[in-house]
Subunit: 330 residues, 2 copies
């Protein structure tokens, strides 16, 4: 090989949510010889998540931040250019962390093969971890009956949008909770949920009905406090993230009295527990996506050079739907 | 009839936890003629619970406090002296609220018949609402496997003592959490749980192991905060009361982050939902009680006149096990 490639890395350590100027493009030399058990890959699409903004400043699950110059976290769909692992062949498509780079050499065991006939960017969103999160939350942790009222926080996002559609498929009346009118439109017009409630609007609390059977929370206190009194007896809350609190490190708290009073069931979800069942989800979802019965809204930036600006937009909550960077045009 | 009976009532409205001097014994005239659908009963044993202390000062589930002179809440086992309801006969034994009285006339529909062969005081405790609470918590809400570590707050109490024994019967290693060495002895010597941890002892937190599979909480924040970090992944918390908070009206709060991190399942329990299944519980439990495989510790005062002092002891947390007043000796 002996090839020079571009990679986006941190320009300096950061303590605040990342902005575009925190990143730099460096040149990196790929190893001349592919080590054993490795893949030489070409990243095609990069997925960007809010957690990355926390992770690269050392605020995610206790993991250390990458040092300036080190590869950044973020799942990528990539094509295999060469392989020294017998489980992978040239032309395979894989998903995993490669760094934000033109090309990369990665450990084969850390990559998972995906079916390009099911999509490419889809494997970072609706067919990937966010979709798996939504599936686990709505079908494995929650129990949804036809006619149930289901509320979904961050319903325009990658997890929430899929979760809302899955609840609709289960026959529920689904209300998406979002911040801002354009996200509300995504929820009603693109994900076709029954209603959107915009928590930027004064009095939004009054738009939520009583009798909520299932609530999915991936943001934090602000919505939890409003939903809990509106939960029906035996109502279920699935907790799968605290985006509102990642930024400031504050704690979200659930009052015990109303949990007892409502006979509520509260469940915490860590999506990685469900990784062995990803194939179960993708083979269920891929035909629905093909038929247009499950949709994914993507917010796509073009070219490796745009990754820093897109990351800043993700960290500021400005992206709509699944945030990705298409690296093919760079 | 035309009979004068004694009844214990509030002497004056109260705002603080009750003390003996808050009560008075009055004389009451029973109606000359038994109304339709009524029972004339002789209370035999009165059960006293912490919630009564809240209820009679207007602090329980929004119900108004009884006015001075009105009958007090509290379940009683009584024998039927005469009946104008075809579902009940003279000599039947019933449980329900009669007031704290020598004799009383009550609505038949509000009483439930019990089997005296299963016990008398038992129907107010282990075979009554506290036992049903323990059964619902340990067998219907929680799922306990052999070898699981189970922790029980207020383990010397009527609910906790039965819950701990049920967890033992399910094959768990059970640790009771109590306040004080005499309660700790009840837990290990009488309920035969595996260990007791006394939260009055400095450093008690360190005596709790990690890997807790199921925790039963009926007290509040103090123990919850210590147990949550020691819960095993997928651990279960059943919430069935907040005795610590009834007294001061403060809120107990569960942090959402650790619930997610632990993939915990938190369930709220209201025992009244399980009342239709009380027979299921008593026919399971009565033979175990007979064989000594389930025991109940009772703290018994003797005579109607002792009810006020016993209520004060309950409100101050001084009773041990199921607090009752035997009215037969009065």
């Amino acid at each position: 090989m002996n090839k020079t490639v571009r990679e986006v890395v941190l320009a300096h350590p950061i303590t605040e949510p990342p902005v575009a100027a925190d990143f730099a493009v460096i040149k990196r030399e790929l190893p001349r010889q592919l080590p054993a058990g490795a893949l030489h890959v070409r990243p095609l699409v990069l997925g960007l998540d809010p957690y990355i903004g926390q992770r690269i400043r050392g605020r995610h699950m206790g993991e250390p931040a990458p040092a300036p110059g080190e590869s950044l976290p973020g799942e990528v769909v990539a094509s295999v250019l060469s392989s020294s692992d017998e489980a992978f062949s040239v032309g395979d498509y894989v998903v995993g962390h490669t760094g934000w780079a033109d090309e990369a050499v990665v450990r084969a065991a850390a990559m998972r093969k995906v079916d390009p006939a099911q999509g490419l960017a889809e494997h970072l969103g609706i067919l990937g971890i966010p979709g798996l999160t939504a599936w686990a939350a709505m079908t494995q942790l929650a129990s949804i009956g036809a006619g149930d009222i289901v509320t979904i926080d961050a319903a325009a996002g990658a997890v929430g949008g899929t979760a809302g559609q899955l609840a609709k498929l289960a026959g529920a009346t689904v209300i998406g909770i979002v911040g801002g009118p354009d996200k509300a439109r995504i929820v009603t017009d693109q994900y076709r949920l029954d209603a959107a409630v915009d928590y930027h609007k004064p009095g939004w609390q009054g738009e939520l009905p009583g009798g909520i059977a299932v609530h999915l929370e991936n943001v934090g206190q602000r919505v939890l406090d409003v939903v809990l009194p509106r939960l029906r007896p035996y109502g279920q809350i699935v907790l799968c993230g605290l985006a509102q609190h990642y930024a400031d490190g504050s704690a979200a708290l659930l009052p015990v009295g109303p949990i007892i009073g409502k006979r509520a069931v509260v469940r915490g979800l860590i999506v990685y527990d469900f990784l062995p069942r990803l194939g179960e989800w993708t083979s269920y979802a891929a035909p629905l996506i093909r038929e247009g019965r499950l949709v994914e809204v993507r917010d796509c930036a073009n070219g490796l050079g745009e990754a820093p600006a897109q990351m800043e937009r993700v960290a500021r909550g400005l992206t709509r739907g699944r945030a990705v960077v298409d690296l093919r045009g760079s």
